[in-house]
Symmetry: C2
Subunit: 445 residues, 2 copies
């Protein structure tokens, strides 16, 4: 008779399983302000240690999802698909995939038969956030109301937005708590957080990019694989068509790590032909898997690969990239010609001849944060101009004095110190180095 929060906490603490009703009472009490943060954080830590059973995790994901509204969905609106990454350094794939896949799908499967409602987050900890990158474009509106987002899906087939207040509000509040209570790295909490938001997009299909390595939350392949397994299991249980990639996050994903400079890299990438090989590999594979789900397996991989290459040689994806920004009030022209004189570019000349062996993505993330481009606390503002632009990447040879990277820094920054910091993230090899493997596994249904 009734829900007692201390009994609920004891229940999880002692390794028992919650009923769906109790999970709902817990979230309802929290959102109504009847259950304070300190009880929720104690529960999160108990979950960190005790986990959630398969059924509990499904129930918990559903309760978080249904704590808010979902994007409106009507019959005959095609296949809705999204891609989500667990977070990487220099990871700008979403910004490339939305225009690329929408162009490709419209061409191969028919106008707006595939729609991409993409809701992204801000950076926190090591990893950058797609939303912060978009914010570097003047006037871009990332805070769409659900109704505006729905209209964009109708008119152009895609949007890129931040999590609105009415979308999985329980997850938003719990995510903030997790970040400050050392309860981020818990597989059931990660799974429920991702999927509750994605389910609120009313999608049919989801491709997960699970990052593993020095620049990711999960450093070990077995942990990342366990996370992917759970994402697939729960996602399918909730009716999603899903594929998960395990991809390497030991090096930054692309030449640029920052915000504005990553937007620039996206435009350069779509224009081609000079593309970072790792970014290209990941983008192509994600695009392939999104198309596979969207076509319900009707198209051969080989055909899709050829069509992705063809799309990358054309200009439609470039056009849609600018359309994506401008349809949400972003001023791309102003961005391209913006005044950069507020910042300095510091070149990092190589101290030696050699081959670049590794560039530690975790160290680059920390360097970016220290340049002013990362958050230490949730509230912190970001400098969207600063960043690291690699001129050489692992596997490439360098001569002494040749520029290995450019750092975009604030005026008055200590250039010599920052150069040293950059070179500390890098290791050298006397021998040739084979290029890193980026796609570690593909887990299809």
């Amino acid at each position: 008779l009734g829900f007692l929060i201390t009994d609920f906490l004891k229940h999880k603490r002692d390794g028992h399983f919650h009923s769906s009703n109790d999970l709902k009472s817990f979230v309802d009490g929290f959102l109504r302000g009847e259950i304070p943060d300190y009880q929720v954080s104690a529960w999160l830590m108990a979950v960190y240690f005790r986990g959630l059973s398969p059924q509990e995790l499904v129930d918990w994901t559903e309760v978080m999802w249904k704590s808010g509204r979902s994007v409106r969905r009507e019959p005959g609106q095609g296949f809705w698909i999204d891609k989500h990454s667990t977070g990487g350094v220099g990871d700008k794939t979403s910004l490339i995939l939305v225009p690329l896949v929408s162009a490709l799908a419209d061409r191969l499967l028919g106008e707006r038969r595939v729609r991409i409602p993409m809701i992204s987050g801000r950076g926190l900890g090591m990893t950058g956030g797609t939303l912060d990158k978009l914010d570097s474009v003047p006037k871009f509106q990332s805070q769409l109301k659900l109704e505006e987002a729905y209209q964009l899906l109708q008119s152009q087939g895609f949007f890129m937005a931040g999590q609105s207040d009415d979308l999985a509000p329980a997850d938003r509040r719990i995510y903030s708590l997790r970040d400050v209570t050392a309860t981020v790295e818990s597989i059931p909490l990660v799974v429920s957080s991702i999927l509750s938001k994605k389910l609120a997009e009313s999608i049919d299909g989801l491709v997960m990019d699970v990052k593993v390595g020095r620049g990711a939350s999960f450093k070990r392949l077995d942990e990342a694989r366990a996370l992917a397994d759970e994402l697939l299991r729960v996602g399918r249980k909730m009716g999603l068509k899903m594929t998960a990639l395990l991809t390497a996050m030991d090096e930054p994903l692309g030449y640029c790590t920052g915000h504005a400079i990553e937007m620039e890299e996206c435009a350069e990438f779509l224009a081609g032909p000079h593309r970072h090989p790792g970014l290209l590999a990941v983008v192509k594979r994600l695009a392939l898997e999104m198309m596979q789900l969207a076509s319900r397996g009707k198209l051969e991989d080989a055909l899709l690969e050829a069509e992705i290459d063809r799309e990358l040689q054309g200009t439609e994806a470039q056009r849609r990239f600018v359309q994506m920004l401008e349809s949400q009030q972003g001023d791309w022209k102003h961005f391209v010609s913006r005044d950069r004189t507020s910042h300095l570019v510091v070149e990092c000349p190589s101290p030696r001849d050699g081959v670049v062996a590794t560039i530690d993505a975790g160290a680059i993330a920390i360097l970016l944060r220290d340049l002013g481009g990362g958050r230490k606390t949730k509230e912190q503002g970001l400098d969207l101009e600063v960043g690291v632009r690699l001129k050489k990447i692992p596997g490439e040879s360098v001569s002494k004095g040749e520029c290995v990277a450019e750092l975009v820094v604030q005026k008055g920054a200590d250039a010599a110190y920052l150069q040293r910091r950059f070179f500390e993230s890098l290791s050298w090899s006397a021998e040739p180095v084979s290029q890193a493997k980026w796609i570690l596994d593909v887990m299809r249904s």
Copy 2:
């Protein structure tokens, strides 16, 4: 360089050990309001799972103790001793021990060679609080300032008070959080909470009464023994002379469970000769162990046992009981003659002939709470008059229709329902039942 709270939480979560400095920074940050409750509660839950190392527990106890002031101590003030119980149902031993031991010690060891600075708590959860019982005496002042407490120790050799604001404030705030975050039943957290308060009393010796059974936090003997072991280890490390008793808490400790009626039982107990056998056994053993510590082992157990019996036959302890109340403004005369017409006494006639086998202390505690005499939340007011007065206890024979207990209830209470509730706490035997064993173990240094 500096203390990062999220790193501190991860450290414990991952099973590492905190330095004394980090524990101090944590408590200081909490007390200054820089570390919010939700981070402290996440740490408490991590400690529940990971524990504290022997050295961490000593450091943590010291940090909690030194978060506040201590009772002033000067040379030549004799041996200071206290007794502390982990909490039982109907447990009124402190109220009897203070006058009894102070009378005995003055007689055997010399005036005020032994002093008893006793700081007690309020009831919470299952167990009653000494302070709530004292509050039933009109005008009794339990909130002594440290200076007032010190004056009473000088003038009469004892006091009974509640925890003042400046005494182990970190423990007081953390205890409140533990109670609402399911982190009470953690041995290191129990040990540090008890000893930090006791150390602030500036005592030399401490006798612990560790309760085990249906009416106690720890239901199993091995858990209670592990707690006693840790209390002894940490206490000695901090320089305390200590003894721990393990005592049974399956039945209420005494005839009365309530507040005012327990004060009445104390006075009746000291007057004698009709004394509850369990209460008598526990009081005598606690008194013996307190005297053993205070006399530094100079007196034989047999002699002390005889002297305790003699003291219980005399009137000095009774006189000091009233003195204890009146020296802190309590109006005992008014209490004795108080108007009881606001409440009803409901008799519970036996439904059968038989022998009382058990009376479940946990069930009696819940019945008391439902009568209005227990707290469900920290802020709840108590009805100090209500209670359960046993007329028959386990081992005694009853005839059908004979009164087994009286319930003191609020007017308008459902008498038939409450009688039924009372009998649900009781089990019968057709055979004679041997009296319960109360002292389960004595762990001396």
